[in-house]
Symmetry: C2
Subunit: 175 residues, 2 copies
């Protein structure tokens, strides 16, 4: 599947990945969250080729995830900072990190995220109801949102029918 | 950067992406969460080439994210189900989805996730302290975990020094 085709899907997961899913991009974002700002520091910390870094940083600026900021007022040299849109990516990065800690790492987490004020680890990323209960996939429904196109609406209708059928089946088994 | 090199990084984000970051893989996982189980249904819903689907499903089974289950007791035909490890990916997929809804979609969310029992939308994915407050990047520290190697420990030490310096600088500016 080409990136272009993914781009046209009526799906926020696919479109988010289309912006941030490249290996280098995610590692650049990790650096930005670590506090790296200067081109030369990205270059050194990542061990990436100069031209690849240039392209990726430009793309991240163009899509609004990073912005260029003069290093001092009136300075010509600029460094790279996360925008609000960029900061919004942190839950994705931390969810990736927690999952890897739990399921991939053999020696346990390389890095723990703690709250500065309390020194306690942050909560494990989880899906929560409005009143804070952890939800599993089977406790959720997929509903069309304001941006759903006709194909998405049809698909979601079929999905709900399949789901209801399975719930009935598993209830019958329990009897 | 080749996948092999990414594989050796002492970083859970990178290693998680190494398992799930391919476009087709994430869309296969999305289907699995939607309730798709049979090879032919994946094929039809995704519009993917048969050989690509076969390879990706095998890889997901090999890494423990999906498992093959006989469609009935004693049946030869098998379908594909998410393992517990696979179910653990849902917070990542929903975090991707929420971010895309907010920052990429022009017409609003194509799909909303609601709790079946209450009909209410789930909470927006966020980073939480142990007592449930939403945290921003600047309120967190990165600490070495049990799986940190020497290079990670050194890097985290440097990061904390940079962070403390910036906090002092911004306090000086406020005066």
């Amino acid at each position: 599947m080409t990136r272009k085709k993914l781009d046209t899907l009526n799906c926020s997961m696919a479109q988010s990945l289309d912006l941030i899913g490249e290996w280098w991009t995610i590692l650049i974002l990790r650096e930005a969250f670590f506090g790296t700002r200067r081109f030369e520091d990205f270059l050194q910390n990542l061990g990436i080729a100069r031209n690849i870094l240039t392209t990726r940083l430009r793309k991240l600026c163009d899509s609004g995830i990073l912005k260029r900021v003069p290093i001092k007022e009136g300075a010509r040299r600029q460094d790279y900072r996360l925008t609000e849109m960029g900061h919004g990516l942190l839950p994705i990065l931390i969810a990736l990190s927690h999952w890897g800690d739990k399921w991939v790492q053999k020696k346990g987490a390389p890095v723990k995220f703690t709250e500065t004020a309390t020194g306690k680890e942050i909560r494990e990323m989880a899906i929560l109801s409005q009143d804070g209960r952890t939800l599993r996939a089977r406790e959720m429904l997929l509903m069309p949102g304001p941006g759903a196109d006709e194909a998405t609406r049809k698909r979601l209708l079929v999905l709900r029918e399949v789901l209801e059928l399975r719930i009935r089946e598993s209830k019958n088994k329990e009897r």
